[in-house]
């Protein structure tokens, strides 16, 4: 080899691997927050690379809203098996039954906000001191301020005004009992980087990302998948469309886009010509101008 510099994807990969190794070295009980979405899949893939040939030194943790795409659960279980990893599931349904949270009512009800309580309860129950997430700074303006190593107090709260300065590659994960960290190894990646990387590495992702025919409802400017959890308005109708998802979350609020991109090549081409942000189809972000910041302060992902 006579090239002595890394290209941007190699540099991002090297940075993420460095961060993941810091996590393994600095924390007692770190987990990967695994949603089944492409970002947490990429983080898991990077963890595989960081500790090869050993197994990944992290458990996977899934915060299950109970409103899942069946494909996501299948994918999750398959991957856990492949990695020979442990899976921790925090169930929002259990939190509701235990009276920890109350289900929202009405047509736009979602379990999105409720996840925070379940997440924090699960972190506490399992004495987790670091939750690795697939958050990216390009996703949202509150996330643009997020550190790689992001401190959470013993109530799980984020204090954006009082974050630890992060210089060079010196990450300070020191914390007191009961506090924890959220770590974001792919902070500097964009949606385009993720897709280019998935393609380059040939990483398996759930079929939901590829164009397919599905029953959907036009709601809040996007195609919401029909499911047992959806209540229809009188003006709404179920249609069948060829769609794919740009992000995956709770099935009740994840909107798809009309697309014919059914291969990675076509998806990469489509994403690079896309003129809308990927979170544009997420109803959870549309509640107010600062909904992400507010949720993050409370301990959201």
């Amino acid at each position: 080899m006579n090239r002595y510099y890394l290209n941007y994807l190699e540099e991002l990969e090297s940075e993420a691997i460095f961060v993941l190794r810091e996590v393994a070295a600095q924390f007692q009980h770190p987990v990967i927050l695994f949603s089944g979405g492409k970002d947490s899949i990429v983080v898991t893939h990077l963890a595989k690379k960081a500790f090869f040939p050993a197994k990944i030194p992290f458990e996977l943790m899934h915060i299950d809203t109970g409103h899942n795409f069946p494909e996501t659960l299948q994918f999750r279980d398959q991957l856990v098996k492949e990695l020979d990893a442990q899976l921790i599931v925090g169930s929002v349904q259990n939190s509701i039954e235990k009276g920890r949270v109350r289900e929202e009512k009405g047509k736009n009800a979602s379990r999105n906000v409720l996840q925070t309580t379940t997440l924090l309860d699960t972190i506490e129950e399992h004495k987790i001191d670091c939750a690795i997430g697939g958050g990216r700074r390009d996703e949202e303006k509150a996330r643009a301020k997020e550190r790689f190593f992001s401190h959470r107090d013993d109530f799980g709260q984020w204090d954006p005004k009082n974050q630890r300065p992060e210089l060079w590659n010196l990450f300070n994960g020191k914390h007191f009992e009961g506090e924890h960290f959220r770590v974001f190894p792919i902070s500097n990646w964009t949606e385009m980087d993720i897709w280019n990387y998935i393609k380059q590495e040939n990483i398996a992702i759930p079929s939901l990302y590829f164009a397919h025919n599905r029953e959907v409802i036009w709601r809040n400017n996007s195609w919401i998948p029909n499911s047992e959890f959806i209540q229809l308005d009188e003006n709404e109708a179920i249609e069948t469309k060829k769609i794919r998802f740009r992000t995956l979350g709770d099935i009740t609020i994840t909107g798809g886009i009309e697309s014919t991109a059914d291969t990675l090549d076509l998806i990469v081409a489509e994403v690079s010509s896309m003129r809308q942000t990927e979170r544009g189809n997420r109803a959870d972000d549309k509640r107010s101008e600062t909904s992400m910041e507010d949720r993050k302060r409370d301990g959201y992902f």
Partner: protein
Amino acid sequence: MINEKTTKEKQLLNNQLLRFSTAGSVDDGKSTLIGRLLYDSKSIFEDQLSSIEKTSQRRGFDGIDLALFTDGLKDEREQGITIDVAYRYFTTPKRKFIIADTPGHIQYTRNMVTGASTANASIVLIDARNGVVEQTKRHSYIASLLQIPHIIVCINKMDLVDYSEQRFNEIIEEYERIASKMMIKDVQFIPISALKGDNVVNRSENMPWFQGAPLLHTLETMHISSDINKIDARFPVQTVIRPQVGEFRDYRGYAGRLESGILRIGDEVCILPAGFTSKISSIDTFDGQINTAFAPMSIAISLEDEIDISRGDMIVRTNNRPRSEQEFEAMICWLNNSSAQARTKYTIRHTTNEQKVMIKEMVYKMDINSIERNMEDKDINMNDICRVIIRSTKPLMIDDYRENRYTGSFILIDESTNETVAAGMIL
């Protein structure tokens, strides 16, 4: 046809990543400049644009207020200022860019230092009407302190001085006078109007006298491969990989990132601080073994001999070692609300190594508005930049920050709060 496309894609994938920082307040047009870069390079999405159009109209702005693209947290929006570093991303067919967008006011010096710490380039903005002001000196000093390899001085608001070449040259002269007092390696000047778009992405028709390239072209083509030290091999060990099962039962890999230099299989290496020597037997990655590793690759190294090595140790070439010191001088930037206490013990994080240290002596404080030394004031408060003498309980393997950004830098952690209280550059 297909071949053409793959070559183009390949070329895209070989693009480099350039990190640059900006500093400034709202008045300098910093947000407008970033907005302009994002907008003209088509990195703004329609939904972002339409939400910004709405806000611009609501606030009675004529057209789109480009500055709104850099809107951040609630408090920042309310006060109309940048407080914390925000990171922004854009890509052109030539490079991927990460912008560390930092505040410019003196009370946020620590945030500027943070944003500058990983930057390849820094954009210093000067208002053409005002010329070199206190803030210009401050931003340039921070860029020189953090040894940002390239500085681009953008003389902004040229539209307000009739695109005058003479004004541009006057400011260059003023700037060179202050820059001569600092350690600045590479500086370029570009006359721009962020608001009107002159010389940001597109060449200005209003300044035909300017022979240089517009800002984006400059960022796209500047040589950055040499920004990383490729001479002194430094490999701080992060963690040890030991699968202990299956075909890799006996594998023992020292995992870390090569922070500088180049290492090859067969190289004679020395493990610090113990001083044992051995040879590199393999360099492993998930994608297979490699013969040569260079900074900043994340790799795992195996050695020919079984040696007790753990996190905090450093693998270097036998004939090129860092200094081993228990007492050294450094410039520090104090980052915390609570001031430095004399004789207090702090934890130092230097590469992956941690030790107890104390600040033995405060030599002087830098007044970063005047670039003068203050020998009288011995307190170290938030945002202060001081020259100090640090004493550690055990020797640290250090290089000068000027030679090596990663083995020459450190942070101090307050054990009573766990907070990062200072950033240091070794002299």
